[in-house]
């Protein structure tokens, strides 16, 4: 075996593994996402010395401007939105050679100019650099850009370099759109080159679910239909739609959160242990879970809209009164579903998902309720009595794990009430987590797709939600209104089975 074939002996023990020199091209570089998330993420990676040893940035956007102007805007955006105070020297070095290519995304001249810049960086480095194209644009441009990159020959790798394309969400707004987009993207690129972002997966909190499930033997034997009664997944927001009426009224709660983030949480909770934590092994296990879920029936879904109400002591408008929302809009701001994972591990366990805007509190959590004890030897008089154990995995705002247990109330009678055993990640890891985009950008540059959504995964998610989306669009109805700042519509309880109740938000 030659040295070239052998592992690099110098990487052992290093926390930051080497990344091949890379040029990152951001399409939509002057947009909101780039300013608020991508550019600050790049700065923080640069600050920590995590970027590849050779790193260049090219912005592509419609507006005409010079390289220096784009660098100036990037500087301002980083200073405004970085999670740490920028170091002037590092920021200046990061933006020293930044390039900007103006033009519309369907204009071949843009790609010719882009190729010139990319080739110049390769020539200066004396080697072909990796190319990562980040599509931070409106979704309709995703296939346009990918096809134009292909036509311009920019998707072909040279030597040992790689070409990767990072695609922002939403990946289609229906199953048909997602399938069409996948087909068009994969007619130009290999799946291994495509990194579909669901930034939720870049959050430490979500990755901790894998650690919680597969690094602790005490819970895994209980994670099945024999011990678990039901599961509730909640993604509640206390804010309204703000200035996003244009996007939100077309999307709605189901597309905005359920089809992607909440189904991802469900798959991470339900998946079988992967053989290893390589991208395809993890994603294959998640896809199996999605394939086990049939689309919910009519009586297994519920939608509603927030009406006027009170939030944080202030009167707030209802959805229909928000700026930019069309009169009589039927877009749901609250969605609840009952899903069933039809496999040996989970058959018979209802999974309740709910999400909504303008609810009482911001919280994202998974509540796993265990089956009650088979026989109760204790009297319940004078106490709330024995309650089924609940395991609560909280993603935000206070990431942690809580387990409710029955405990004896001090005194001379045998009375029981639930108490909580709490673990807060913040008390055990007193460090600031990196922004999700920092992790995801590095993983994409490194070629690790574990935290990105595979083509069959996206389509499997849509197969569950698409019939609901179509039904709701085909059958517009006057939506139930819930007061802003409330627990949500009481009618949502109708999809709960037996004596199940929604946890308080």
């Amino acid at each position: 075996m030659s040295a070239a074939d052998a592992e690099n002996p110098l990487v052992k023990g290093l926390e930051r593994l080497p990344v091949h020199p890379t040029v990152l091209v951001i399409f939509g570089a002057t947009g909101d996402l780039a300013k608020r998330k991508l550019l600050p993420a790049l700065y923080n990676l640069a600050h920590e010395g995590a970027l590849p040893e050779r790193f260049h940035l090219i912005g592509v956007s419609r507006r005409d401007k010079a390289n220096e102007d784009f660098a100036g805007e990037a500087d301002k955006a980083i200073r405004s939105f970085s999670r740490r105070e920028p170091d002037d020297k590092v920021l200046s070095a990061l933006l020293a050679e930044v390039k900007y290519v103006p033009g519309t995304f369907d204009d071949p001249a843009v790609y010719t100019a882009l190729k010139t810049e990319l080739d110049a960086f390769d020539a200066a480095a004396g080697q072909p650099l990796n190319r990562a194209f980040y599509l931070s644009t409106a979704p309709e441009f995703f296939p346009v850009i990918v096809e134009a990159l292909g036509t311009a020959g920019l998707t072909e790798s040279a030597g040992q370099s790689e070409v990767r394309v990072i695609i922002e969400k939403p990946f289609g707004t229906t199953l048909a759109e997602a399938q069409d987009l996948n087909a068009r993207v994969l007619s130009v690129l290999d799946e291994s080159q495509v990194f579909r972002i669901d930034h939720y997966l870049g959050k430490e909190t979500v990755q901790n679910m894998l650690a919680f499930r597969f690094a602790n033997s005490m819970f895994e034997p209980l994670f099945n239909r024999n011990y678990i009664d039901n599961v509730q997944i909640t993604a509640a927001e206390d804010i309204g739609i703000g200035t996003r009426a244009g996007y939100y009224d077309h999307a709605g709660a189901l597309r905005d959160l359920v089809q992607n983030h909440m189904l991802q949480l469900l798959t991470l909770l339900c998946m079988e242990p992967p053989v290893d934590f390589s991208a395809d092994e993890v994603r294959s296990e998640k896809v199996k879970v999605l394939h086990s879920i049939r689309p919910p029936h009519r009586d297994e879904v519920f939608r509603a809209q927030y009406g006027p109400g009170t939030a944080a002591g202030e009167d707030v408008a209802g959805y229909l009164q928000e700026d930019g929302v069309p009169a009589g809009s039927h877009t749901e701001t609250y969605a609840a579903l009952r899903l069933h994972v039809e496999n040996w591990r989970w058959a018979g366990v209802p999974f309740y998902l709910r999400t909504g805007k303008r609810l009482a509190r911001k919280v994202t959590e998974i509540a796993v309720t265990f089956k009650p004890v088979p026989h109760l030897a204790f009297g319940e008089e004078g106490s709330v009595g024995v309650r089924p154990n609940q395991l609560i995995l909280t993603m935000q705002p206070n990431e942690g794990v809580s387990l409710s247990l029955g405990a004896k109330i001090p005194g001379n009678r045998m009375r029981i009430r639930p108490v909580n055993m709490e673990f807060l990640y913040g008390t055990a890891f007193m460090s600031q987590s990196p922004e999700a985009y920092e992790r995801l950008i590095m993983d994409a540059m490194r070629g690790d797709a574990t935290l990105f959504t595979r083509n069959d995964e996206v389509e499997a998610q849509w197969r569950i939600c698409d019939p609901v989306v179509r039904r709701w669009e085909d059958e517009p109805e006057q939506l139930v209104q819930y007061p802003a700042g409330s627990q949500g519509p009481p009618e949502a309880s109708e999809l709960l089975l037996g004596d199940h109740v929604w946890r308080a938000i």
């Binding site: 690099n8 080497p18 640069a46 050779r54 200046s92 070095a93 020293a96 200066a124 206070n398 007193m430």
Partner: protein, 366 residues
Amino acid sequence: MEATASSRTTDGVWRERDTTPAAIEEAIRRLLNEAHAENASYVPARVMNLVCIVDKEWSGEIANRLRRVGRHHPSRTVVCAVEPRRTTLDAVATVAGPAETKPGDFAVLRETVLVTCGPQHLARLDTIVDPLVVTDLPTMVWSPHGHPEAVDALRGMSQIVLLDSVSEPDVGEALRRAADLAGELYVVDLAWLRSTPWRERIAATFDPATVREDLRLLSSVAIRHHPDSAAAALLLVGWLGSRLGWELSPLVSRGGAAGSRVGTAHARRQDVKLTLDADATMSVPGLAGVALESASGRALRFDRGEGGLRARYRHRQRGHEDVEREWTILGASRGEAGILGEGIRQALLRDPTYGPALEAALVLVR
């Protein structure tokens, strides 16, 4: 609890002269209960115990260093301030949390115990400190002003020792002490952490399969370092030697303690010339530059620069024009506070390459 406006924390403070470890431990428990009773948002952090042994005269400076470590800090810090001729224990226990908490949120508390003791206490310091650390949390010991007898006394109750080989005047003695401690404890050596960015960059340079072959062809390694930071340079050479299977032998000193060390390592294919130069112009501890040359004609050097490391590459091939390139590898200087913070963070991780690098470095100073 009294609010401290300047640091925007709320501190619960207890102090007692001529006290005992049992009284201190009870006071911390009471302060924690009082904090939680006052505001249910306050929760104790449970990360790691840090036991510092310092000269009382310089304890303020160490306190300042610990205050500046930023986001990586231990959850309970026990500072043993050694005062000459003292025979009794005085103590101040502080439980601090943010002055403002948001409803529904939580705020972690930081616990600090300052024990003023005398030299006579050091040989049995474990009997004083053991009741003061949180059981079941890892305990790290840091003794920046020497006091090896105190560190030895705490070996049985701690798992990690933090040290800085560059702060010892005799680099050989510093490395031997680190090796001795590494036999029982996990050693976090700040001198090693100072070399981390350099190790990462060297590893990245040789990561592409096309240049990995050059690792076998390295013919020269030259390192410039702060005059007091020979340990960081020796550990870097030790790392290369241990990872690449070099046969090392003692370096020869030139130009006194702050001068150069030169020598030769035997690689499989050729000898590697080793040069460690003290750079008197360098104002902060650590490394100033690394230069690598290979028998294939490639030369690479990294130097501290604006906004990161300045990299220079040169390739000489017979019959071809020389190729020369320069670029900046982005990264902010961590500063001494950042290095200490990194040391505390590393205490909970395990680096399998430090031990072999240390063993190899010991050969260089034998």
